[in-house]
Amino acid sequence: MRRLTLDQALLIAPALAIMLVFFAYPIGIAVYFSLLDYSLMRRTKAFVGLANYLHVLRSDLFLRTATNTLIWVAISTVLPLLIALVAALLTYFRFRGYRAFTALFSLPIVFIPSSTAILWSLMYSDPFGLVNHLFEAIGLGRRIWLADPATALPAVSIANAWYGTPFAYLMLLAGLESLPLEPIEASEVDGASSLQKVRYILLPMLWPIFTVVFLLRLIDTVRSFALIWIMTQGGPGTASLTLPVATFKASFLQYDYGLGSAWGMINVVLVMGISFAIVWRREVE
């Protein structure tokens, strides 16, 4: 049957209705607003075409935000993926106590983002933070990590890397365990060492799954908001301002509906670009 029956349409209707009223319709509003000079502060509402987009893209703030987002994304994808890969490979070889290791290593997933922000703000706090205790103990001195423009962004990114590690680990481990066993067994017959197995068999076979985990992680860090907003609110100044945080500030703190919506749509273009890469990969495989 190439057409939907009435019964089938009725079964889809509730989910579709919610998505249309509370997703598609608001997005339509945002697209429309992004073409207006519409500010509650300046009391304006007039059609200006793509002027808001040009204004945002040409601003120093956007350049700063784009650079920050790149650093944020780089640290919070590469670091957890590498750590997770090592952990997943070790677990795959089932050393003694590997089950306990999996349970302990994945423990960060029980915390909500707000708790993660609290845990890491505590780690970085000045009089009481463990990071400062450790730095002092090895003679490097104390810092105000989250209030220093030089360290705020890397510090928050590391917290995000910590939060993302178990997700990457569990997915990579599942990927490893889904690999066919024959090539690995064959290599054992040939007397390959564990390192050789990893280098020549497991890593090449894992590569497609690794790419998908990477892309999913990428998309989640590009659009992530909570951790940065709670820990630094994009500050000090603009030091840890990323694309979603800048968008939030433009819409909710400056009451500029036009510019805020344009910021939002720039997020959409970027994230949808990465989504296409994911969907495209899916079709290819």
């Binding site: 509730p14 607003f33 909710f252």
Partner: protein
């Protein structure tokens, strides 16, 4: 690993990996148990106490926010499962062009940047007078749960053999009867998984709770985040609240681990 350095290297790697995962968590646990003096240099606090936990548990604000979080999560779970299970059944069975187009649309909803919807949904909720209401916040969560739930549940329905349905169709069953009498009883594990996914998505959510709540419906994540912007941060108490807020996830921990392994790959990889 063979060779003289193999075993020590593996042990070292395991220790480092566990240190990465557990240090922030153990440090907050220690602080949550600390008495009057917090450590200002490397070392343990002088006295340990459960007073901070008592403090957190008897705080009316915390109590209120936890209740709000649970009510909203239950509402969001109900709305999203009731709407997405029938839809995903059709997505699994129908070969109409509309369905595959809609399924792709749901995938893009799922991957959409959260922040881009924040402001316009705030305006729509304001127009419908749903700001700071349980219904408004849970619908705000639901629009993010439905796309994931649909894909996940479709994967489960794909595994239910069609032979049973075909014989029921010969007996004249409508799709609704098929779904409720024949297919759903076989898809119970999937429904439980989707229910938990919905519940935890809502329970942990921050951005939409932040913009759609004001006073009455403030959730636990929003309340907790607010503590960090106070002039004098009460580390002991908020560490204790962080530990307590993890209890629901800890209760389903082994389930969450298997869900993460299978679930996250399901929608995207096997869809």
């Amino acid at each position: 690993m063979k060779g003289r350095w193999g075993v020590p290297l593996v042990v070292l790697a395991i220790v480092l990996l566990l240190a990465w995962a557990l240090t922030p968590l153990l440090y907050a646990l220690i602080i949550s148990l600390a008495g009057f003096d917090l450590p200002t240099k490397l070392g343990l606090p002088h006295d340990l106490t459960f007073a901070n936990y008592l403090d957190a548990l008897t705080d009316r604000e915390v109590y209120r926010a936890t209740a709000n979080s649970l009510i909203i999560a239950i509402l969001a779970t109900a709305i999203s499962t009731v709407s997405s299970i029938p839809a995903s059944y059709v997505f699994s069975r129908s070969q109409a062009r509309v369905t595959s187009a809609l399924l792709l649309l749901f995938l893009f909803f799922r991957l959409f940047p959260w922040i881009a919807l924040a402001f316009p949904i705030f305006l729509v909720m304001a127009r419908f007078r749903l700001l700071d209401t349980y219904l408004g916040v849970s619908v705000g969560h639901t629009v993010w749960i439905i796309p994931t739930a649909v894909w996940y549940m479709k994967g489960f329905f794909d595994l239910v053999p069609r032979e049973l349905e075909e014989s029921a169709i010969l007996d004249g069953a409508t799709p609704f009867v098929l779904l409720t009498r024949v297919v759903l009883p076989l898809a119970v594990p999937g429904m439980i998984a989707v229910g938990l996914l919905a519940f935890f998505s809502s329970y942990t959510e921050y951005l939409y709770s932040l913009i759609l709540t004001r006073v009455q419906t403030v959730t636990l994540p929003v309340l907790m985040a607010g503590y960090l912007s106070e002039f004098k941060v009460e580390w002991r108490k908020i560490s204790a609240i962080s530990m307590l807020s993890a209890i629901p996830m800890l209760a389903f921990y082994s389930y969450l681990l298997t869900y993460m392994r299978r679930g996250l790959l399901y929608g995207i990889m096997k869809g």
